[in-house]
């Protein structure tokens, strides 16, 4: 069975500081990894997926199969980045997401 772990429940940084939200996974096959974000009073939405290898809102995430990690990074945090972030995995040929426990990012002015 697959598992996603986000070790930090809360991450607090100052505006302009770099931010890294950690995500580790366990899965024996080739997973597909995602980051979802939930801003205050908004619905959960897809931020980025590893196969796209894109940068969204300044965020990037690289899949490291050796370390089984998919950390989310941004070089300069903004106050509007404050939100709940979820890392998620989908098994090969599957269609159900397994979510990590979530990390609340607070960016202070």
């Amino acid at each position: 069975a697959q598992r996603v772990t986000q070790p930090e429940k809360l991450l607090s940084v100052f505006k302009g500081a770099p931010v890294e939200l950690k995500c580790n996974y366990s899965y024996s096959g080739s997973p597909e990894l995602f980051w979802y974000v939930q801003y205050s009073r908004q619905r959960l939405q897809l931020l980025l997926r590893h196969i796209s290898r894109e940068s969204i809102k300044g965020f990037t995430a690289d899949l490291n199969k050796g370390e089984t990690s998919f950390h989310l990074k941004k070089p300069f945090a903004q106050e509007e980045d404050s939100a709940m972030y979820y890392c998620a995995l989908i098994a090969h040929a599957g269609n159900m997401l397994t979510f990590g426990g979530g990390t609340r990012l607070m960016v202070k002015p």
Binding site: R43, Q45, M84, G94, N95, M96, G101, G102
Partner: protein, 111 residues
């Protein structure tokens, strides 16, 4: 033009009651889901459903059942509500595995 909608937004009820939460999507997606988010914000898949197959998370009690009258709707029925069922329930739909569009959530409080 809301993509995924849920009703009601809030639901307060007594233990032992039976209740339903409705979900509708106008995106034409084939697959819909129900998730439960507990008080610690942990998000857990409950069901995945398309017009061919229902996949149930084995940890979900059989008091919970999804009902799909058509491709655009997936309602969640809950029988004999318990205190532990209090949570936020999210519906989602998907055009492809992993890329999911979520509804706004329904906050269920069981007294």
């Amino acid at each position: 033009d809301t993509a995924v909608s849920q009703t009601p937004k809030y639901l307060v009820t007594q233990m032992g009651n039976d209740k339903s939460i409705k979900c509708e999507q106008n995106l034409g997606h084939d697959t819909m889901y129900w998730y439960k988010q507990d008080s610690k914000k942990f998000l857990k898949i409950m069901f995945s459903y398309n017009n061919k197959e229902l996949i149930i998370n084995e940890t979900v009690p059989n008091r919970f059942s999804p009902k799909s009258p058509d491709k655009a709707h997936l309602n969640l029925h809950i029988n004999s509500l318990e205190l532990g069922d209090s949570a936020v329930y999210f519906c989602a739909s998907s055009p492809a595995p992993g890329t999911q569009y979520f509804g706004p959530g329904t906050r269920l409080t069981v007294l």
